[in-house]
Each structure stands twice: as structure tokens, then as C-alpha cells.
Amino acid sequence: MSPTTWAWICLALPLAGAIFNSFFARSLPGERTAGWIGTGAIWLSFVAACGAFASLMAHNADDRTFTSTAWDYANSVGVDAKMTILIDPLAIFMMLVVSGVSALIHTYSVTYVWKDNGFARFFVYLNFFVFSMLLLVMSGNFVPLIIGWAFVGAASYMLISFWYRRTTATRAGIKAFVMNVIGDVGLVLGTYFIVFRGTQSLDFLVTFHRVDTVFAPNAGDLVAGCILLLVGAFAKSAQIPLHTWLPDAMEGPTPVSALIHAATMVTAGVYLIARMHPLFENATAAADVGAVVGCLTLIVAATIALSQTDIKRVIAYSTMSQIGYMIMAVSAYAYAAGLFHLFTHAFFKALLFMAAGSIIGAMGGEQSLDRMSGFRRALPFTFICFLGGGLALSAFPITAGYFSKDDVLDLLGGEGGWHWVLYVLGYVGAFLTALYTFRMIFRAFFGPECAEARELRETGHLHHPEHPFNPDTHEEEDTNVGFPGPGHYIAERERPMKIAMYTLLVGCIVNGLIQIPFVDDLVNDYLRPSFANSPLYERVIEEPSDTLTVVGLILSAVISIGGIALAYFIWVRRRDTIPQRFRMRFRPLYEFSFHKWYFDELYDVVFVRPGTTIGRFAANVFERVVIDGLVNGTISVVRAGSTVVRAAQDGFLRVYAALLLLGLALVALWFLLQST
């Protein structure tokens, strides 16, 4: 079968799963059948992605781009909106990452949300998300791209607000949705600038082919269009200044955080820039904006992650920071390096979230790092997974993150010029990453055992709080639909969770081996056909000298080990003194980081408050006085008029007849007078 046939199958399966479960989940036998059906659909989808990969590799390297059109939405001059998929190494790379990680996370979720009242709904949403994400990465036309882009936003909204009776969760969902809509608008307007003021074709290949003849390098329309595309990418990938939704999105169930808000959806921005590389290479000004914003985000997010206490939010900020690396890489034309980091990051970040879910299970729903400590012996398997993910995230030598992050920074350094600044800040970010990752690990797993950990280790009882509560506000809840179910699970005892985590653990240790400097270059070789017409890409991957690469590898190792050692010193050896003393000594600095650089407060003052004020004015004054005045005025005019006319309608039949005859007589008289 051709790659496109496999791709259509890969796309159809998650949709089929979503539709099947939404209609028949209630009539299925067994408690978890709906979950297994959803999971099976994604596993089959992964198999289809592998089939597409195999069938693509059977073709020659210069003949690996395929398109297939299912139907036309509209086809006329300058508008060729078609349901086209574009299957090339880049698309299949993303398909494999998305469907593979999704399959593992689905497997994990079958246990994790088992007792939730809304189990089938969860899998419907999750399958719908995978369908949308696959549509996004496969599309070969701006229209399906925009559709997929909006669908993943909707799926993200539905899953963040999955526990819809939790006020914090619904608020977070709305916030994410609004932020993402800003990105959607950016994407649509960007398409307008590039297509309708330029290439006159919505088809990717045609647009890419025409872009350098239609636009001069750095032409105004093209740069504007590319910056608007970047707005879309920033909103989806939680880059500054559109990042504030991502930490709040942690209100959703943990598998959702792992799937959507770590491994797949948030990397859509990276994919978009890589996919649109022929545009960005003609609009280098826009690409530079992307690189600078990515670099800013990675530093800002890392500094915030240092002081957060909610374990999932720490991981969320680390996601932002790692995506900063990817955005920086693909904006600096190091596409394969960025995508390699995307690939390894999907593994270790999904693993970290899964392990965090396991600790939260052991804490009975509590997420604060302040309350958890000493879980090392109570949760040995979770500890190993968290440690493996943490080491990969901190770029510890020979783990996956080490090679991918180093690849990104190496290429940036090789480009020279002002990219040196990004190179240095990238290493600063790497140091902070090691520090905050191991702060989390040392606080949760080391030190004196907390009550929950001791209970679990000594009696084997999983801690269950007396009342279910909201981990954010500690309000009491029940366990009915719209709130989390009564079940809490740890990976040590649940086979589906364990299988998923094992696979990811192995992945995040060995994945890096596919692209080791001086040894092999698999990712680059595989992706090269997708970037075949890109002179900048070819130049960038050749540039770094061997010395720079070696220095980078050593520097990475030193920085990562140094960061871990410092974290050990602060949060294990001196856990009772140094953190407090630092907090006292550098109060403003700590507050600044703890309040997330005051972004939320700023947006509150600049956008939310004026917005609500205008809204309140419109509702209380404009609506009451002007709109209601118009409506009520119309009503009273009609009513007064009808009162007058009603007097004639007295129901006296013979009067009607008389009036009729009188009218007739008058008409006759008038004609008579006219005729003489």
C-alpha cells in the first residue's frame, strides 16, 4: 500500500474510535471496555503510521513526498481549499510520535480514570484529540491545517475542563481556549497574507514552490504573514507572551497533561514552523523573532519552575522551557535538531507526568511539593521512572535529552553572530533545568517520609483523604460526574500504567542513540528529504566545527551534573536551611519567580479588567438603556396603534357588512364621477 493509504487509515482510526464510543459506550459489556476500544484504535493507528513509514522508506530518498486529496471544499481561481494530505518524512515523523505516545498514554489512562464517572467520555475526547492532531500534522493544505489547529484547541478545552464541576478547571479551560483562539486568528490572518496577497494557492507544495518568485526576500506581506503564523505557533506552544494558559491547563486529568500539554499538542507550533520553513527562510526577520521568543521563553519558564510548589505545574513550566528550545532551533533553521528534541521530549515529559500522576495517586489527590517527601522507598518503580525522566530532562550524559538538547545548542553555536547569545542562554537554561528538575525529585522522593509515604510503605494502604478535595483550593468535593472519581492509583500496582511507563522509560534512555555526534545521524538523514530545498538547513547542519561539538558535549555534561549536584546540596543536604534563607535574603526575586513574573496579574490589569468593565457597562447601561429602550419603544408604539384600530373590531357582524358596502359604494361613486 502507498504511504498515503496508510496515512488515511491512521487518520480514520481515532475518529472511528471516538464515534463508536460516543454512540455505543453505554451498551458495552464490562467496566473498561470503552477504554480498551479507544486505546486499541490508537494502537492500530500507530501500526498504520508504522506502515506508512515502512512504505515511505521503500521509495528513493528524492521521491518521498506524496499527496492525496479526498475531496475539494472549493476550487476556483486563487482558492483551492481541498482536503489534501501531504505525506513526507516530516509528516510521518510527527505521526509516529503522536500516535505512539498517544497509544501509551491511552493505555495508562485506562487505569487512571477508571473509577471516574465519565470514563467513556474521556476516551471519546482523547480519541478526538488524536484525530485532530493527526489531521494537523498530515494536512497538505492550509484549510485542513486550520481545521486541525482549531480541533486540537477544542479537544484541549474539553479535556482541561473534563471535571466540569470544578470551577478552577472550567476557568482554566476557558483561559486555554481564549488564548488558543488568539493563535487561531493569527494562523488564519497569516494564511491571508501569504496566500491571498501572494502565492494564490492554499496548497502547501504550490505555495512553497511559488514563495520565492512571488515575494522578495523579507517582503512586508511575507514577514507579516510569517509573524502571524508565529502568533499561532506561540499560542499553541505556550510561548511568551501567550503562555499563561499552559500551567493552568494542569487542572485537567494527569494523562491529559501528559498527552496534550506535554508531548503532542503543544509541539504543534514547532511542527508548524518546520513545515512552513520555505516561508520562514524567505522571511528571516520573522524567523529571528521566533528564535528570540523561544530563547526568552526557555529562560523565563525555567526561572518560574524553580519556585513553584505544584508538582504538575513545575513540569508544565519545564515543558514551556523545552518547547522554547525547539522553537529556537526550528526558527534558527536547525529543523532536524528541533524535531529530534521534540521526539525525545515527548518521551521523557510524558513519563514525568505519568510518574507525577502516580505520586498524586499515592498522596490521595494532593499535588503540592510542600506536602510530599520521602517517597523513594514507598514508590520504588515511580521513583525510577521519575528519575529516568528527570535525568533525560536535565540532559544527563547518554540519556535522550542529552543528545537532543546538545544537538540544538551545537547548531546554534555553529551559526555564530548573535546566535551566540542564544547558545549561551541555552546553556544557562540547561543549568536551571537540571536545578528545578532535581529540586522536584529531591523534595518528593528524598528527605523524611511524609505520613502518606509511611502509611503506604508500612501497611501497604494507599492514602485516601477523608473527603475528596480540589488540590488547588482544598475545597471539598464529591466523586460524582464532573469531579474526579474515588479511585487513586499508583504505577506499582496497576499493570497498564506500569507497561506504559516502562516503555517510555526505556525510550527516554535509548532514544538519544539514534543521533549521536560523530557516530550516527539518523534523524537528520531521515528528515533530509523534507528539507531538501532548503539551502540554509544544509548550511546550518554543516557549520559547527568538531571542536565546538566536543566542547558542547562536555559543557552539557558538566552543566547537567553541576546542576544536579547543586540541587542535591540545596534540597537534600541543607533542605532545612538554604531554601528558607534564600527566600528571606532575596525576597523580591523569590516573589517575582513565585508569581510567575506577574504575567497573570499584568494581563488581568491590561485585558481582563477593562474587558469585564466594558462588558458590565454593556450589560448594565447600554443594554438596559439603549437596546431595551429601542425594543420597548417599538412595543409601545405598536400597542398604542393597535388599541386605536381595535375599536373598529367590535364583533358586530352587520357593522362589518355595512362598512364593506359603504366602501364599495364610495369606490363605485368615485368611478362614476371620474367617468363623467
Binding site: G651, F652, L653, R654, A658, L661
Partner: protein
């Protein structure tokens, strides 16, 4: 004999019908008077038809008769319904149509 006399007769019958509609209170008689008015119209149409020597007026008259027949069916139906519901057979007392 000119057409004028036909028209005079027609006008007289029309006035008789109209007067009946205005002064009588029984719906049955009102219906009869309406028939008179319609037939006055018919008479005028046929008179004109004779005058012009074409058959148009006669065709109209036949159509008017059909309409009149339909109208009588509806009208008598209403009267029977009024009777069955023991409502007064008096148009002045049936004033529910007042606005």
C-alpha cells in the same frame, strides 16, 4: 331593449340583497341575501355578455355560481355547527370576534 334595463334589475336585486344583509339577524337569511347579491352580479355579467356578443361574461357567471355554491356549503356548515352547539342563531349575539 338595451342593456340598461338588465342593469337596473340587477342593481335593484343587489340593493335588496344588501339591505337584507344589513337588517336581518338570522344567519340563514343573511346567506340567502348574499346569494341575491351574487346573482345580481351574475345578471349584470350576462347582460354585458349579450351586449358585447361574446361568451366571456357567461363564463364568469358560471364561475361565480361555483363560488356561490362553495360559499353556501361553508355557510350552512357553520349554521349547522351553531345549531348543534346550541348557540344562538343570531349574528348580533355572536360577537366573539371583537378585537
Amino acid at each position: 331593449m338595451t342593456v340598461a334595463w338588465y342593469l337596473v334589475v340587477s342593481a335593484l336585486i343587489f340593493c335588496v340583497g344588501a339591505g337584507g344583509v344589513l337588517v336581518r339577524r338570522s344567519p340563514l337569511v343573511i346567506l340567502l341575501c348574499l346569494e341575491l347579491m351574487l346573482n345580481a352580479g351574475n345578471l349584470a355579467l350576462i347582460g354585458f355578455s349579450r351586449m358585447t356578443g361574446t361568451a366571456d361574461g357567461q363564463v364568469f357567471a358560471i364561475i361565480v355560481m361555483v363560488v356561490a355554491a362553495c360559499e353556501v356549503v361553508v355557510g350552512l356548515g357553520i349554521i349547522v355547527a351553531l345549531y348543534r352547539r346550541r348557540l344562538p342563531i343570531d349574528v348580533d349575539r355572536l360577537r366573539e370576534l371583537s378585537g
